[in-house]
């Protein structure tokens, strides 16, 4: 486990004894086994593991998209297990930003509309919404592409829009699931640098799951996930 860069002062996220199984026909596959970890405020942590090691599942549990079979997740003092599905969703809406491997921009919306979506859900409209959207679009270098449809952008550009979307509603935690997995090496580095810069600039917590040690090198700390367990290298 390594720590570099900024000063950490207090605990932001705690995972306690998380386990997750999936039913596959008559069999049960265990994806996460007794995972425990803590994350400090403002920290950028990379979770590295091979395909199928349970990285994305762990991210889904932290975001509340999925639920653990056992264990607890506490985000900034809020125990997610204590929230019902609706309140978990509202928590996610307000406090979590997501960046996916396949971008997951809505294909029928323009870049601008995709960007505004989290703001709309948080009832932030009008001038404030426009200001934030324009500022972030400029920050990701796509200031003049707001009216474009996502599928007319390159992969790197789409991921930059996804990063802007993940940050626009000022969440406390940004979760990035293999954000460079679908990009070439150079574009991947550009995207990671951008993600690192924007989250650090806004003092966000960032958890990046990746199979790439190069991508993980941007993080303050790296955790390794193997066969569903967090291990030291």
């Amino acid at each position: 486990m390594t720590v570099k860069g900024s000063q950490v002062d207090s605990e932001f996220l705690r995972l306690e004894h998380l386990s997750k199984n999936f039913r596959e026909g008559p069999h049960t596959r265990t994806v996460l086994r007794n995972v425990s970890a803590t994350f400090d405020r403002g920290e950028f942590v990379a979770i590295v593991g091979e395909s199928g090691s349970g990285k994305s599942t762990l991210l889904n549990l932290i975001s509340g998209i999925d639920q653990a079979d056992t264990g607890a997740i506490c985000v900034d003092g809020q125990d997610l297990a204590a929230l019902d599905e609706r309140r978990r969703t509202l928590f996610r809406r307000r406090h979590i930003g997501f960046v996916f491997q396949f971008f997951n921009l809505l294909p029928t919306f323009t870049v601008w509309e995709n960007l505004l979506l989290p703001l709309e859900l948080n009832s932030i409209n009008g001038t404030e919404a426009t200001r934030r959207a324009q500022s972030l679009l400029d920050a990701v270098g796509l200031g003049n592409r707001g009216d474009t449809s996502p599928d007319r952008l390159s992969g790197g550009e789409q991921q930059r829009v996804a990063i802007a979307r993940a940050l626009i509603h000022d969440p406390r935690l940004v979760l990035a699931d293999e954000p460079t997995g679908n990009l070439d090496e150079e574009t991947g580095h550009q995207v990671l640098a951008l993600l690192d810069r924007l989250t650090r600039h806004a003092s966000k917590n960032l958890i990046l799951v990746t199979h790439s040690p190069e991508a993980a090198s941007y993080a303050d700390r790296v955790l390794y996930l193997k066969d569903g367990r967090l291990v030291d290298r």
Partner: protein, 864 residues
């Protein structure tokens, strides 16, 4: 099919049909809901077409059998005026030896409590002259010699088909009561006929056979015949020879002239039903087009991969069409079964309408014609495959490896929406031009109507897009973020949403159109009844409707009625069917001096009073609108009718609105009628009561007073009006049923479209859930989207339905039946259409909303 398995085939020259078959089959089975809904849509469409076709074919066949049962193999008939012929004409004809085959006939409608009260046809024949005409009395069918002897010699002896007798528990030698023209007669079943062939058995179903002398006695027409059947060779020489030997007022007519006009009358009714049933199939075609398009857009990338691996455009095209064929065949097969089941009630409804409006079908049970099944099956398959051609072409044009992006597709849909809008307006104009074309062809009229409806369907995408832009700010204010997202989603998925909206719109516009037409028709009939119904009470025979009564009434009835203290005035009425060069014409001859003053005229060159005075003083007639249309008559023309003195032209003083018959009616004074036909029969008495008298009370008393003379009905004006309206409502029962079915097909279309749409958007919903949309909000979003689609369909269906109502009311009805209807517009059908559209769309959205709400966002995000 996985990409891996496809890739492994690279290098082969072509794809085996088996591989492609797997691509199609796996898609159909993996999207089972979609496939089942598609099959169900076709099933219902085919079932409606088959049911109506069966009903029409059965009615037509029943008509043929009824005619054959009575006319047999006759080529011509000798007929007289409304009182029939003197029987000596037959004797003279036989003696002269002019014709080889001639048979006298007396016929009348008869009911019997021993025959379950069913209306049957009494056929009085001469057994010795029958053999060339009808086979009932041939060696293979006839009763025993003893029974035949009884049939010829005993008074009141009749014969029935063996199964009719058996069904009603009658045995040879048994007595039964026959009600003929309001009088009861005792008859004896002399024997039973057992025809060996099925056709004769069916024909005999509705026949009570009697010797000619017995029939004359039973009907009170001693010495008279209704007609003489003849078999004459083709060519006019012998016809002319027979004609010259006949006295004035008696004519030889080909059988088709008499039966053809009746057949024509029901043809329009049946064509209307066929058009309505086709409408259900067209809505079904929308559904198929819709679903096949979805199945193609969902697989664009798969088709792109297939193309890159060497599958030709033609093979992709064939793949989609093969899928459509399979779905069509499955739907058609199930549709045939359902159609036959539904056809049984449709047959009942159609037969009842024909009995109410046109003539009594004595044959009611006919087999399912295989041609109807073949037509229905083929239509289902062809409709499905044709509806799948545009999506199949779309699939074939997917470029290899570079499947068109969704935004490009939607951009294309937006551009197409504008083009479709222009094409829609052009199509509607073409439809209007077709309708304006001065043709009486119903096929042309329905063609024009379909073009208009199709034009509205083409307008749907642009209107949907426009309306969504308009409602967005309003909904945003009312519902916040969901109100902003839902209209945007509908507009931005136009390639998918517009088709579903169009299908629902078509069904709803048809609902509005038919509803308004029926409301207008009903209202017109109500107004007309208040003009046309004479007096306070109508006294007539038991078989009439009160509007047209044909049973002769005992002349002594008049005096009995006049003696009633509450009766102020009695007018006499004679209804008769008279032969004319253009087919038969209903005649209403009345003694009332002022009846015509209150009639509404379509056309007249004088005032209603002057026109009616001309009827009484100058021997003129006024003709109903359908008759004027049928015989192409105008006010300055004359109406030619065969009278006792031969063909006579009656001047036409006016054309009046009338909805009693589609064949058409001519009104004349009783005096004119009696002079022309030498017939003093009356068929109804119209009674005006003294002020303050209770019509129901007086009617009951009159019926009792008249019972000793004849079984007559005294019906207050209000009862007749109610009976007429109940016949009206029965007539439109099948229309209502078809309309409901078209809506059900549309509902399935919307359900199928929405399911496919939501399935396709699964990943998008996953993203929305990931960024914080709650389950409730997601469900709300889906339901709001579907409601908006329903509302657009409802809104668009209002002008479409109104125009359809105008066309149905003013063009189709006029061309079908010759009736001018007053258009009545009420809010109810429009509100109902909006409510049904929104409800149907909302219901269709419930399942996807529940399903999406239940799905874990993580699963939805994994969905490809």
């Amino acid at each position: 099919m996985s990409i891996g398995s496809l890739s492994s085939r690279v290098g082969r020259d072509d794809f085996s049909p088996r591989t492609l078959w797997n691509v199609g089959w796996r898609y159909l089975t993996r999207h089972l809901w979609q496939s089942l809904l598609m099959v169900l849509g076709i099933t219902l469409g085919v079932a409606v077409v088959v049911a109506v076709d069966l009903a029409n074919a059965s009615a037509s066949r029943a008509f043929d059998l009824s005619v054959d049962a009575v006319a047999g193999r006759a080529t011509h008939q000798i007929v007289g005026g409304p009182q029939g012929l003197d029987e000596t004409i037959y004797t003279r004809l036989r003696r002269a030896g002019t014709v080889e085959a001639a048979a006298p006939v007396v016929d009348a409608y008869v009911t019997s409590p021993q025959l379950a009260g069913r209306s049957m046809q009494l056929l009085g024949v001469d057994p010795f002259a029958e053999q060339p005409f009808r086979s009932y009395l041939s060696a293979s069918t006839q009763a025993s010699a003893v029974q035949l002897s009884a049939f010829l010699t005993e008074a009141g002896a009749i014969l029935l088909a063996a199964d009719v007798a058996e069904r009603n528990g009658l045995e040879p030698g048994g007595d039964l009561i026959l009600n003929i023209e309001g009088r009861q007669h005792r008859a004896t079943l002399a024997g039973v006929l057992t025809p060996t062939d099925r056709l004769s058995r069916r024909a005999l179903e509705g026949i009570v056979l009697a010797d000619i002398a017995t029939a004359q006695e039973l009907t009170g027409r001693v010495g008279r015949l209704d007609r003489i059947d003849l078999i004459l060779p083709k060519g006019g020489a012998q016809v002319a020879q027979v004609q010259t030997s006949l006295p004035a007022g008696v004519r030889v007519l080909p059988v088709e002239v008499r039966t053809g006009a009746t057949r024509q009358m029901t043809a329009a009714f049946r064509l209307n039903l066929t058009a309505l049933s086709l409408l259900a199939l067209i809505v079904g075609m929308f559904l198929i087009y819709n679903t096949m398009t979805f199945s193609v857009v969902q697989r664009r990338s798969l088709f792109g991969i297939l193309r890159s691996l060497g599958v030709t455009r033609l093979e992709v095209f064939a793949l989609v069409l093969t899928e459509a064929f399979l779905v069509g065949a499955a739907g058609a097969a199930m549709g045939l079964v359902l159609g036959v089941l539904m056809g049984q009630s449709a047959v009942r409804m159609v037969t009842r309408t024909i009995n109410d409006l046109y003539f009594v079908l004595t044959v009611r049970q006919v087999p399912v014609p295989s041609i109807s099944l073949l037509k229905g099956g083929l239509l289902g398959v062809i409709a499905t495959v044709s509806a799948a051609v545009p999506p199949a072409r779309e699939a074939a044009t997917v470029p290899p490896r570079s499947a068109l992006s969704r935004s490009n597709l939607e951009d294309k849909a937006q551009q197409n929406a504008r083009r479709a809008g222009v094409a829609g307006v052009a199509t509607m104009l073409a439809g209007a031009a077709t309708l304006a074309f001065p043709s009486r062809s119903l096929i042309v009229s329905f063609g024009g109507t379909f073009l208009i409806v199709f034009g509205f369907a083409l307008l749907t995408p642009s209107v949907t897009s426009g309306l969504m832009r308009t409602v967005k700010p309003v909904l945003e204010r009312a519902l916040g973020v969901l109100g902003r997202m839902a209209p945007r989603d509908v507009r931005k998925s136009l390639s998918r949403t517009a088709i579903a909206v169009a299908a629902l719109m078509v069904a709803m516009s048809v609902t509005i159109g038919i509803n308004l037409m029926i409301t207008s028709f009903r209202q017109t009939v109500i107004v007309w009844l208040s003009d046309a119904l004479q007096g306070d009470i109508v006294v007539s025979g038991p078989t009439g409707s009160g509007l047209q009564d044909v049973t002769p009434v005992d002349p002594r009835a008049e005096a009995i009625i006049r003696d009633h203290p509450d009766v102020a005035q009695v007018d006499l009425l004679r209804s008769a069917t008279i032969d004319a060069p253009g087919g038969q014409v209903e005649i209403e001859a009345g003694s009332s001096r002022d009846y015509g003053y209150g009639l509404r005229y379509v056309a007249s060159d004088r005032s209603p009073k002057a026109a009616w005075d001309a009827v009484h003083q100058e021997g003129a007639v006024i003709v109903s609108e359908p008759l004027a249309n049928r015989l192409n008559l105008s006010v300055s023309d004359t109406l030619s009718l065969y009278t006792e003195e031969g063909l006579r032209a009656f001047p036409i003083a006016g054309i009046y609105y009338d909805y009693a018959s589609t064949q058409g009616t001519a009104i004349m004074s009783l005096e004119t009628y009696r002079r022309a036909w030498d017939d003093n029969t009356i068929t109804a008495l119209v009674v005006d009561l003294a002020p303050g008298a209770d019509p129901s009370q007086v009617a009951r008393t009159l019926e009792a007073d008249l019972a000793s003379l004849q079984n007559l009905l005294a019906r207050p004006n209000r009862t007749i009006r109610e009976a007429a309206l109940s016949i009206f409502d029965r007539t439109f029962a099948i229309t209502d049923a078809l309309q409901v079915l078209a809506t059900v097909v549309a509902f399935i279309g919307v359900l199928s479209a929405l399911l496919a749409l939501q399935l396709e958007k699964q990943r998008e919903f996953g993203v929305l859930r990931a960024v914080g949309l709650t389950v409730r909000e997601l469900r709300g979003l889906i339901l709001l989207e579907t409601s908006l689609m329903g509302a657009v369909a409802g809104v668009l269906s209002m002008p479409a339905g109104f125009i359809l109502a105008l066309v149905l009311t003013h063009v189709i009805n006029r061309r079908s039946f010759g009736w001018t209807l007053q258009m009545v517009v009420t809010a109810a059908p429009f509100l109902q259409a909006i409510a049904i559209s929104v409800l149907a769309a909302l219901l269709a959205g419930i399942y996807p909303a529940l399903r999406m709400g239940k799905m874990a966002p993580a699963d939805a995000l994994r969905y490809e």
